[in-house]
C-alpha cells in the first residue's frame, strides 16, 4: 500500500432534483484511493454508489444532479471546479470508466474498432498503423482470440462477454491511473462474470492501476477487494480493509447486509421425498423457436423431464439461454411445447384446452421475476389478489376475506388492499405477487427468479417468507434461479440446465458437494466469493473434486 493517495474525496455532496425521496444523492462522502489497490464500493439500489462513481469523472447529468459541496482531488488536482477542456483531457486518458450494460454503452451504428480508435484520436496523435497495433494488442490482453474480427464487428454482433472485454480494452488503451468500474459484471452470466472478474484482477495486478469497483454483490467484494466502502442512502457508513469489513463488520447496516447475503449451503438436514406422491411429472418436453422461416431453429427445450413430489422444492438453475424460464412457462401453460407430456396428478395438462384448462389452473400458480411488471399499475392491490378467486366463481365477500388473510400472511396487513402497486417497494410488491399466487390454494407454486430483481436485504426477507409459508401450507415449489447460493438455501432437489437440456440433477447437497458434470463444476467455481465462504474442510473437498479455483481468463 503506497503512502501517496491518488484520489482524495472530501465531504462530497451531490444534490437530487426537487421532489425526490431525499435531498442528496450523496451526502458528505469522504474517502481516499491509493495507487495499486482495488476499492469496492458496495451498497443496495439507491445508495448513491453509481452517482459517486460518475461524479469522479464529471459525468453527472447536470443540471439534474450537481455536486453541491466538498471536493475531489486527483493527484492534487481539483476535479470538481476543473475547466471542461482539462476534464476532457483526463477522461479516457488518466481516469477511465466502464459501465454496466455493454450493449447500450456502445453506439449500435458504428463498428467497435472505430469506437475504440476514437479514444486514441482524441488524446494521442498516432498513425493509423500504430493505433491498430495498440488496439489489437490490448484486445489480446483482455482475452479476445480474434481481434481483427471484433474490430470489424458491430456491437450487436458480439456476445455480452465480448462486448464487456472490448469496453475494458477501450478503457485501458492509454493506461489510466484509475479505472472506475460501475457494476460491469452485473448484466453478465455467472460464468462470464467470473472470467471478467479474474481479468480485472489480473490487469490490476500487472499494471498497478487503482480500481474503484461498484457492486451490490458481497461475493464479488470477497473475490476482488483490497478495501471496502459500504454505502447506505447516500452516506458512507463503513470503510476499511476487505478482510476486516467482511469478517468483523462494525456498522449495524453492514452487519445486516452480511447476514442477508445468501450463503452456499453444503450441509443440512436431508429431507427425503421419495415416499411422497408426485405432484407434477413432466416427460420429454421439446420446444423450438424459429426467428424466421429461413433461420435455424433455436431449441429452448430438448427432451426435458422433471418430477416434483408433494412438499418438495425443486430448483432449476442455469444461465441465460439455458431454457429454465421456458420450462417454467411451459409447465404453467403460458407457452406451448412442441412435444411431451405434463402430468399434474393424473391429468395431462397438454391435452386440456379452454374451460377444463382454466379450472385446473388454480392448482398451478406462478410468481414472476419483475415485481414492477407483474402487477397491473391501474388496479388496486386488493383486486389483483382477489381476481383469480372471483374468476373461479367465488363471491365477493369471501374473496375479500381471503384477500385480507393472505395480505396478513405475507406481512402486509389488510389495509394494503386499497392501495396501488406504485405505493409499495419492490420487495413488498413481490409479497403481493406471492399473496396473489396463494389465493387459489395451489398444489404447485412456480417461482421464476422471484428474488433476482430485489436488493439483498429484501431478497432475504422474501426467501424467508417463501420458506415459512411453504412449511405452513404444504405446497410444492418449482424454483427457477441463476444464483446457486439462493438455490442451495431454498431447494431440496436441483436440476442444472444448459442449452435446453438438464445436464445433472439430484438432491441439492449431493449435486453441490459432489458435482458430476463438468458444467456444474464450472458453475460452482464461478460463484463469486465462494472460496472465501468455505471452511477449510470444504475447500479441500472442492480441490479434490477438481473445481478450479482460478478459471481461465480467455473467452470460450
Amino acid at each position: 500500500m503506497s503512502t501517496k493517495t491518488l484520489l482524495e474525496v472530501d465531504n462530497l455532496s451531490v444534490t437530487l432534483p426537487a421532489g425526490g425521496d431525499r435531498e442528496f444523492a450523496v451526502t458528505d462522502l469522504s474517502c481516499t484511493l491509493c495507487p495499486n489497490e482495488i476499492l469496492c464500493v458496495v451498497g443496495e439500489s439507491g445508495s448513491g454508489k453509481s452517482v459517486f462513481a460518475r461524479s469522479i469523472m464529471g459525468l453527472l447529468p447536470v443540471p439534474r444532479l450537481r455536486v453541491s459541496g466538498g471536493s475531489i482531488r486527483f493527484d492534487g488536482q481539483d476535479l470538481v471546479n476543473v475547466a471542461p477542456s482539462e476534464m476532457r483531457r483526463i477522461r479516457g486518458n488518466k481516469i477511465s470508466m466502464i459501465f454496466q450494460e455493454p450493449m447500450t454503452a456502445l453506439n449500435p451504428l458504428i463498428r467497435v474498432g472505430k469506437q475504440m480508435e476514437e479514444v486514441l484520436c482524441v488524446h494521442a496523435s498516432m498513425g493509423r498503423e500504430e493505433r491498430r497495433s495498440l488496439i489489437t494488442g490490448r484486445l489480446q490482453r483482455v482475452g479476445i482470440t480474434d481481434p481483427e474480427r471484433l474490430l470489424r464487428s458491430y456491437p450487436h454482433e458480439l456476445s455480452g462477454g465480448q462486448r464487456q472485454r472490448a469496453m475494458i480494452a477501450m478503457a485501458l488503451l492509454l493506461e489510466p491511473r484509475i479505472l472506475v468500474a460501475d457494476e460491469p459484471t452485473t448484466a453478465l452470466d455467472v460464468t462470464t462474470q467470473a472470467k471478467i472478474l479474474r481479468l480485472i484482477k489480473d490487469i490490476q495486478a500487472s499494471s498497478h492501476m487503482a480500481v474503484i469497483f461498484i457492486t451490490h454483490d458481497f461475493g464479488v467484494v470477497a473475490e476482488l477487494a483490497d478495501r471496502v466502502a459500504v454505502m447506505q442512502q447516500g452516506r458512507l457508513v463503513e470503510i476499511g480493509n476487505a478482510k476486516d469489513v467482511l469478517e468483523h463488520p462494525s456498522h449495524p447496516y453492514t452487519r445486516s447486509l452480511m447476514e442477508a447475503v445468501p450463503r452456499m449451503k453444503f450441509r443440512g438436514p436431508r429431507t427425503s421425498f421419495d415416499k411422497a406422491p408426485a405432484v407434477l411429472s413432466a416427460q420429454a418436453l421439446c420446444k423450438a423457436y424459429r426467428a424466421s422461416r429461413r433461420s435455424q431453429p433455436v431449441h429452448a427445450l430438448k427432451d426435458v423431464s422433471l418430477r416434483i413430489r408433494r412438499g418438495e422444492a425443486v430448483g432449476v438453475v442455469g444461465e441465460s439461454g439455458s431454457g429454465k424460464s421456458t420450462l417454467a412457462r411451459s409447465i404453467a401453460r403460458l407457452v406451448d411445447v412442441d412435444a411431451g407430456q405434463i402430468l399434474l396428478g393424473d391429468t395431462d395438462l397438454l391435452r386440456l384446452e379452454r374451460e377444463p384448462l382454466r379450472e385446473i389452473r388454480s392448482k398451478l400458480q406462478m410468481v414472476f421475476q419483475d415485481p414492477f411488471a407483474s402487477l397491473d399499475p391501474r388496479c388496486k392491490v386488493g383486486f389483483t389478489v382477489a381476481e383469480g378467486l372471483l374468476a373461479h366463481g367465488e363471491t365477493e365477500e369471501n374473496a375479500m376475506r381471503r384477500t385480507d388473510e393472505l395480505l396478513s400472511l405475507v406481512g402486509l396487513g389488510p389495509d394494503a388492499k386499497h392501495r396501488f402497486p406504485h405505493e409499495f417497494s419492490g420487495g413488498q410488491r413481490q409479497r403481493i405477487a406471492i399473496a396473489r399466487a396463494l389465493a387459489l390454494g395451489p398444489e404447485l407454486l412456480i417461482a421464476d427468479e422471484p428474488v433476482s430483481a430485489l436488493d439483498v436485504s429484501m431478497q432475504a426477507q422474501v426467501l424467508k417468507l417463501l420458506a415459512d409459508i411453504k412449511e405452513r401450507l404444504h405446497f410444492s415449489m418449482l424454483f427457477i434461479t441463476h444464483d446457486l447460493r439462493v438455490a442451495s438455501q431454498v431447494c431440496d432437489y436441483i436440476c442444472v440446465m444448459r442449452n435446453g437440456e438438464i445436464v445433472e440433477h439430484g438432491q441439492t447437497q449431493d449435486v453441490f458437494a459432489d458435482p458430476r458434470h463438468e458444467y456444474t463444476r464450472e458453475l460452482l467455481s464461478a460463484v463469486p466469493g465462494l472460496a472465501h465462504e468455505l471452511s477449510a474442510a470444504e475447500q479441500t473437498c472442492m480441490a479434490r473434486i477438481g473445481i478450479a479455483r482460478s478459471p481461465s481468463t480467455s473467452e470460450g
Binding site: A105, L106, I110, E118, V119, V122
Partner: protein, 325 residues
C-alpha cells in the same frame, strides 16, 4: 453486397402484389360508380362519340362476366394502355408521362427543404430545451400542423404575389417567353418557390418535432455517457454519435409520409396552377373523366411503393442491426 442485391430484388417482388391489388381495387371501385361502366370510363364530358363508347365496351369486355372484365382491365393497365382522353385529345399514358416530371420536381423540392430545414431546426431546438429556439420551433410546428395546405398557399399568393409581387402567382414557367438553358431554370425556380414552400410546411413541422424528440431521446442514451467518458467534446458527441442515431426515425417517416405528399401535391398544384399530375387529377374530376383519375391513382401508388423500397434500402445502409434478410 450480394445480400443487399437480394434484398432489393425481394422488396421489388413484394411490391408487385401490392400494385396488383391496387389495380384490382380500382376496378371494383369503378364498378361501384353509378351508371353504365362504359359511359363512366368515357367521361361525362359529352365529347365521347358513340363509336368510342362502343370501342370501350369491347376493349374492356363489358358485356362479359366480371372475372373476364377484371383480367381485361388489369392487362390494359399493366400494358400502360389507360385509354384516351377526349377532353385533352391525347392518350392517357402520354398525358401522365408529360405531367410526371413537374410533380416530381415539386415534391422533391418540398421534401428536400422540409428535411434539411427540419433537421437543422430540430437539432437547434433540442440543444437547449425550453430556450427561445425551442419555443419558436414549437409554435411554428403547431401552426404548420394545423394549417390547411390550400389556405396556406392562397395566403402566400396574397402576400407574396399580389401585394409584394416578389413571385409569380401561378404556373411553372412563363410559357410565352420560350426561355432556354439557365434562364429557363431560373424561371422555373422562381415559379417553384411558393408552391414548394406551401407543400413543405406540414412536413417541416413533422420533421422538426421528430428530430427534436429523437435528439433528446438519443442524448439520454448510455453510449453518450461512454463517449463523454472517453473525453470527446460535446460537439463531437453530437455530430459523430447522436445525430446519426437520430436520423433513423426521420428516414422511416419519409416512407410513411410519401402517400400524404402525393395527396398534398394535388392541392398545391391546383392552387398554383402547377402543370403536374395533381392538377391533372383535379381536371379529370371536373371532367368526370374517371378513367384518367384511376390512371393517376395507379401511377401515384406505384410511386409510393418505389419510394418506400428506396427508404427501406437506405435504412439498411445506415442501421447494421436490420439484417437485409
Amino acid at each position: 453486397m450480394n445480400e443487399r442485391l437480394r434484398f432489393i430484388w425481394r422488396r421489388l417482388l413484394q411490391g408487385i402484389p401490392t400494385i396488383l391489388l391496387i389495380i384490382i381495387a380500382c376496378f371494383f371501385l369503378l364498378k361501384l360508380a353509378p351508371g353504365d361502366a362504359a359511359e363512366v370510363l368515357a367521361g361525362e364530358s359529352g365529347a365521347a362519340t358513340k363509336e368510342y363508347v362502343d370501342t370501350l365496351r369491347t376493349k374492356f369486355q363489358l358485356d362479359k362476366p366480371v372475372p373476364v372484365q377484371l383480367a381485361a382491365y388489369v392487362k390494359n393497365v399493366l400494358t400502360l394502355d389507360l385509354g384516351y382522353s377526349f377532353r385533352q385529345g391525347t392518350s392517357v399514358s402520354s398525358l401522365i408521362a408529360s405531367r410526371l416530371v413537374p410533380t416530381l420536381l415539386l415534391m422533391g423540392a418540398a421534401l428536400g427543404f422540409a428535411i434539411v430545414a427540419g433537421i437543422v431546426l430540430g437539432m437547434a431546438a433540442s440543444n437547449r430545451p425550453g430556450g427561445w429556439v425551442d419555443q419558436f420551433v414549437s409554435v411554428l410546428s403547431l401552426l404548420a400542423y394545423s394549417m390547411p395546405m390550400f389556405w396556406a398557399g392562397l395566403m402566400l399568393i396574397v402576400v407574396f404575389s399580389l401585394r409584394l409581387e416578389w413571385f409569380p402567382t401561378s404556373g411553372m414557367e412563363e410559357v410565352a417567353m420560350f426561355h432556354e438553358g439557365w434562364t429557363r431554370v431560373l424561371d422555373i425556380a422562381e415559379h417553384l418557390v411558393l408552391p414548394a414552400l406551401t407543400l413543405s410546411l406540414f412536413y417541416l413541422a413533422l420533421f422538426m418535432r421528430l428530430m427534436r424528440a429523437a435528439m433528446l431521446e438519443q442524448r439520454g442514451m448510455d453510449y453518450v455517457v461512454t463517449a463523454r467518458a472517453k473525453g470527446l467534446t460535446e460537439r463531437q458527441i453530437l455530430t459523430r454519435h447522436v445525430a446519426r442515431n437520430a436520423l433513423l426515425p426521420i428516414i422511416t417517416m419519409i416512407g410513411i409520409q410519401m402517400g400524404n405528399l402525393v395527396g398534398g401535391s394535388v392541392i398545391v398544384e391546383t392552387v398554383f396552377g402547377w402543370p403536374g399530375l395533381g392538377q391533372l387529377a383535379f381536371d379529370s374530376l371536373f371532367a368526370r373523366d374517371l378513367n384518367l383519375l384511376m390512371g393517376i391513382f395507379v401511377v401515384s401508388a406505384v410511386l409510393v411503393v418505389v419510394v418506400n423500397i428506396l427508404v427501406d434500402i437506405t435504412y439498411t445502409l445506415i442501421d447494421p442491426r436490420i439484417k437485409a434478410a
